[in-house]
Assembly symmetry: C2
Homo-oligomer: 600 residues x 2
Amino acid sequence: MVSSQSVVEGKLNSLRRWMLEQRVDAYCVPRADEYLGEYLPKYNERLHWLTGFTGSAGMAIVLADKAALFVDGRYTVQVRHQVSEVHFELCHLVESAPAQWLAEMLPAGSRVACDPRMYSLYWYRATQTVLAKTQIDLLGITPNPIDLAWDDRPLVTPAPALLLKEQYSGESSASKRKRVGLQLSEQGADAALLFAPDSVSWILNLRGEDVLCVPVLLSMAILEVDGSLHLLVDADRVPEGFAAHVGDDVFLVAACEAEEFLSAWDGKTVLADPSTANAWSQLTLEAGGALLLAASDPVIEQKACKNPTEILGTRNAHKRDALAVIRFLAWLDRNLRDASAAPLSEALLADRLGALRSELDLFQGPSFDTISAAGVNAAMCHYNHLDNDEAFIERDSVYLVDSGGQYLDGTTDITRTVATGDVGEDVKHLFTLVLKGHIALAQAKFPPGTTGTHLDALARQFLWAEGYDFDHGTGHGVGSFLSVHEGPQRIAKLWNPTALAPGMLLSNEPGYYRDGAFGIRCENLLLVQSVEKEDQEVPMLEFDPVTFVPFDRRLLVVDLLSESERAWIDAYHQRILSELDLDLLSPDDFAWLKEATQPL
Amino acid sequence: MVSSQSVVEGKLNSLRRWMLEQRVDAYCVPRADEYLGEYLPKYNERLHWLTGFTGSAGMAIVLADKAALFVDGRYTVQVRHQVSEVHFELCHLVESAPAQWLAEMLPAGSRVACDPRMYSLYWYRATQTVLAKTQIDLLGITPNPIDLAWDDRPLVTPAPALLLKEQYSGESSASKRKRVGLQLSEQGADAALLFAPDSVSWILNLRGEDVLCVPVLLSMAILEVDGSLHLLVDADRVPEGFAAHVGDDVFLVAACEAEEFLSAWDGKTVLADPSTANAWSQLTLEAGGALLLAASDPVIEQKACKNPTEILGTRNAHKRDALAVIRFLAWLDRNLRDASAAPLSEALLADRLGALRSELDLFQGPSFDTISAAGVNAAMCHYNHLDNDEAFIERDSVYLVDSGGQYLDGTTDITRTVATGDVGEDVKHLFTLVLKGHIALAQAKFPPGTTGTHLDALARQFLWAEGYDFDHGTGHGVGSFLSVHEGPQRIAKLWNPTALAPGMLLSNEPGYYRDGAFGIRCENLLLVQSVEKEDQEVPMLEFDPVTFVPFDRRLLVVDLLSESERAWIDAYHQRILSELDLDLLSPDDFAWLKEATQPL
């Protein structure tokens, strides 16, 4: 829905008045806040306020007499529904596009302003370099002019942080801080800027409710080599018992003291990741005399390898989560069989699945916005029914549902594609090719040193053999009651140098999308573990699935499966029956599950 | 065989006298000459002269009172046979080991010397940086002290270059030079240092006999954006008709003028690859005022994608080459069956195969040193029978032969592993796993943008599944009557960013090596080509084999093969019969081939 034109006009005018006062010729508004994360709290959705665009990535640039909105290929259709082309030229977002557009639009000597808290240092310096070629200056200015003009800005209503018990985290904060501090000293740093809120939350065994789907406390921290930590968060954000929970040597720095605090590291070497940490924090450290050591966040690799407590929690969370998904799929099938049932909308289905999850023990919320996509809509792999007209399940097609939950003991993410009737041979053929790829990856064994990029082709080979492919990664890392997308490991074509290691949790989600027709995706989460086998010449790693929900047997062309693939599917389906607590299912749901897990 | 101790002593003494005169505390002698290639002419084997070591990589460092020889894992056994530990401490060669050893051995203020023509600029600068940490200087000094002391140095007997006809090259030098020149101007360079002799030979359609196995003219060149080229080679190296052959705007620069010539690029931007071009050439350019642009040799990517003439030539060369290998394998089988035959030594077999190749049309020489390895010796993947005691074929084992030829129309490289009797189930099982990997890679289809690293796991997956692996790359690029190892493409675990593209030629050579027992390798060369299929959603590439010699059916466990793998082997064997000119085989050899290509 396009925002009222006069409203947009008013917002642009107020921004332009500020630009005049500041004597700047352009102002950039990205879809980001100072934490540069995927999910933003509503009160930080500045790009949406200015433009009406709800996508997860984009940037507006406002000049005195025109404005542009840059969005990537995922959002080219959606942006036309949401944004008026009267006010914004719509442009394609690739890394350097905004800077190049500015260089074309503005004469030499122009001044471009931005809020340096909303960009990585990497982006900030690269953009400065591009603009300098045409004698244009990039200036970092705070406070943010959107904040000054945003009258009805939602209130910041921060709930206090949650203290995550060691029965879920498996290691005390003091122990984690010592461990990472030791690693820092080996890297030659005196301290590290822990910029990602999930790194901070992990190392302090804290969680929060500041943003949807990612249970972090929005904060950053500086960790010293001795394990002491300075948490940049206001004291009212931490609950009673905080000091006892996190242990000694954790100090709070209030927001109003942050700049002064970051300016006080003169002569110290501070590790920070210029591609993920915001420009402001690093420029402030540098201005105060700190030496920046560019390296990746030292917490990320530690966090990626789950400890035994987290592994057990992840397995338990997935077993409970599977019950909700099975109940949902059984309910859906019963409704599809009932000719008198009311039409099933995508939203109704997403809500039903959400409600079933919310009944589960330790449930804290969804781990991302559910993708509930009927028929043709499933061909858009980042579809969100909330951004589109109400759509109903199509009969004789496929329905794709990609969803997950946050639990105190783990984070889940699962996609199933189900038949809504007689789908025809073409859809079955492609579903089978996708599932063959899923199985090849799930069955892979590989030596230490192997990265996700080495394994990516295993999941694509059967599609490739027939001239098909899918345009997204095959697998992403998943946190432990943290972000459903976490690094550093990844399974994708793009080179990722991180070797897969025991304790890493990854998705396995090959798919196939036919524009204007249908979409397919088969996703389980997998844990990396060592192969326990005597007399092996080379140590090997393997995946163990933690997701236990049947794949839709009605979509399989059994003749296309090798014996080993058939055996894998049958064994996986049998394992569902042995892993889950079947007593918790109603007789109807249990009957559905028995049917759905019959051998092929 | 260890060189006589007094001889080594004398050589070290003369080097140490020179070091005293030059007031340097250490001198480095690498296994390299100024072209930094894999094969060296005998008169440039300076490391061998000094130490007796014949391996293809290594470095000696001589101090006033001690010396060390660094070799990598391939040569740890061999070096003990060849080099006296009285004179040289034997050390493990990894990139920074020599510099670290120097830093430990020498006090601050020491001076280390080397000949800057024998090292890449990358090595030279990295070593300077390491040594500078302990206040040690690295000095580049010419002339080379080995050359001054080497009394019985083999004479330089350069044959004149060969002018490769367009019926083999498929494109005139003028056209190639214009094309690469255009690319240079897009990169913002005024000129490029073509440092690799195979790049120079390719762009001028020249070949040479300066080194064994790689038919290049040892030379370097500077190419300008307009396509004009300065060839650094003495005039007596080019034959009559050279000027007409290479076309206009090719100028000769004699060796004695090279330094002056490289010093005359003041203010010009000259592209050079610091990891492959020698330090001396780039330091000389820089000292003369040239701006160095570090980038990879612009010829390498052009050369990698064979043109239609080269593709046809490669196919023809392989069809002829296959006849020699088939005659060899048939002869070997007849000899193995004949209980009264004389024992078969590795050397005898290698010579027999070489003799059979030398009878073929357009044959110019071997493309590398034949690996003829019986039984346990095949477990060493870089085995050379010439470096070892005479060994004979073992019965009831496997024999591995990896060999290739240079022909005017192409370069071949093939490995076959053959049974010498009843090998037992274990060897058959592993041979089958290796061949399954070979087939998976050979059958792969993949979209443009796919690199060799993406496909490497396809060849290893069956070994990995049972806890095995092999410790070398799966495939290397191959030239067109040029080096049998050429880049930029490669199929290996180590990340290689080069996308496979139509016209590239690569080996497919998975293997398995059991220390002290046996070795297996199955190698064909493959051409990358587009999949010709209507209605494909995504364009796809595939491999087409150019090698046509049977794999040993007696080594297969047929039950381990999928239907598709059996069909691939049978179709490949049938294709041998249809591709080759069978009339050229003797009745005995033809009968052997019919038997060897029977369906499974």
